[in-house]
């Protein structure tokens, strides 16, 4: 499927319009849920860390440090991607699956259009913008952590900022965005595969969406483990 997606390209002008449309559908329209989840996850991580640090010998700055590490390394790239497997993945599978069921893909093929390039390539390119959404998720998550920590009375603003900057390793940012690009590719291709090659009717479109969500999540989790093992250990 991937090989055929990059063959026999669609007319450039049409392709640009499709890419802009997909950026809007897949990334921009997901920003609301990404910001909402990130803010509250950041806040909850801070509260839980604060409540578990009962030993007075452990500095309160650790709360900011723990929030930064967990948000940048895991919650923003991985947790949000699993949520996106449900939102974006289901959208991709059901929209392509419906096109399959209603013979719209056959119509493209009969016209001499490479339907895989027309349907899947713009999604892959659009998901290159997905790391920008994750960057926003990181900022919003840290913002949620700050607000919950400082205004919840768990630590001082200065302590949080101190924890946030302590032992900062720039490679962790590279690691987070590297795996985000891998997840973006998985989020575009696995649901597209399940939609494109589905057989049957409306009921099967629903089943394909569920299957695609499960598989995308599983592959993201396994890829996360492999990338972490390779880059951080």
């Amino acid at each position: 499927m991937i090989k055929n997606t990059f063959r026999k390209m669609t007319k450039r002008k049409v392709l640009w319009n499709l890419i802009f449309q997909e950026v809007n559908d897949l990334v921009i329209k997901s920003m609301g849920i990404i910001i909402f989840i990130s803010f509250f996850i950041g806040a909850v991580v801070t509260i839980q860390t604060a409540l578990n640090l009962t030993n007075p010998l452990i500095p309160r700055e650790l709360i900011g440090f723990a929030a930064r590490q967990s948000i940048i390394l895991e919650f923003a790239p991985t947790f949000v991607s699993v949520i996106m497997a449900g939102k974006v993945g289901s959208f991709i599978t059901s929209s392509i699956g419906t096109m399959r069921v209603t013979e719209q893909i056959d119509a493209l093929e009969v016209m001499g259009i490479n339907s895989l390039n027309y349907l899947v390539f713009p999604k892959i390119i659009a998901m290159l913008f997905y790391p920008f959404a994750i960057a926003i998720a990181m900022f919003v998550g840290v913002g949620g952590a700050y607000l919950a920590g400082v205004y919840g009375g768990f630590l001082e603003s200065g302590q949080f900022i101190q924890g946030l900057t302590d032992d900062f390793i720039p490679f962790h940012i590279f690691y987070a965005f590297f795996k985000t690009y891998i997840f973006a590719f998985l989020l575009a291709t696995i649901p597209a595969y399940h939609g494109y090659y589905m057989k049957g009717g409306a009921l099967e479109v629903g089943k394909a969406s569920t299957t695609s969500f499960v598989w995308t999540s599983v592959v993201i989790i396994i890829a996360n483990y492999i990338i972490t093992q390779l880059l951080l250990s």
Binding site: T10, V14, T98, T102, E103, Q104, D106, V110, M111, G112
Partner: protein
Amino acid sequence: MIKVENLHKSFGETKVLKGISTTFEQGKTNLIIGQSGSGKTVFLKNLIGLFEPNEGNIFYDQQKYGDLTTSDRTELRKKIGMVFQGGALFDSMTVEENVMFPLKMFTKKSNAEMLKRVHEVLERVNLDQANHKFPAEISGGMQKRVSIARAIVNYPKFLFCDEPNSGLDPRTATVIDKLIQEITKENNITTVINTHDMNSVFEIGEKIIYLQDGILAWEGTKDEIHHSNNKDLSDFVYSSNLFRKVRQAYQKGL
């Protein structure tokens, strides 16, 4: 003209098409009829290139499909118009955008030129009031007409229709049949229609082929059907009381 030679198609052990040979003539409405499961749809999908035959050849105006390169096949497909059973209109596009789609993909016309051609064909199919509506907002008959407009907008040489009037009321079905026949004559294109609507057979069937269990069991014109000795064909065509009476009237010279 489309010439088919000894076409075979199997799916695993199941042989669906068993050596079909026939010719579909230019400027005529050619009909494929047969019972469900007789191989009509598989035959049509071989003709439009969605399936590759296991054996046999298809010639489009002397061009042997099997010998064409990938780019030649793409060029040939630009000359093909297809009306799908359910319309197969793109849900996310308006009527106007659906019809304009082949022009956008394959021509270098300006937007104004494309719009002019789109309005021409929409007017031809008597549908110039729904340009900005989406497929879900128009009736089944209108969707079929949009589908016909999209199929003919880029001046095709071959037009294929898969059960174009299924799910339509008899009056709209007749309108669609007549429209396809008129467009075939006006543009001198080779039209192949897959149908099991006997009204279509007697209205527009200039050449009819009857498939039975993947074999071409009979071919002829709509008038020749009345004189056919093929029992299966007669059982199929005259299964309704109305058409039995039509045959009796025809044989009595009424």
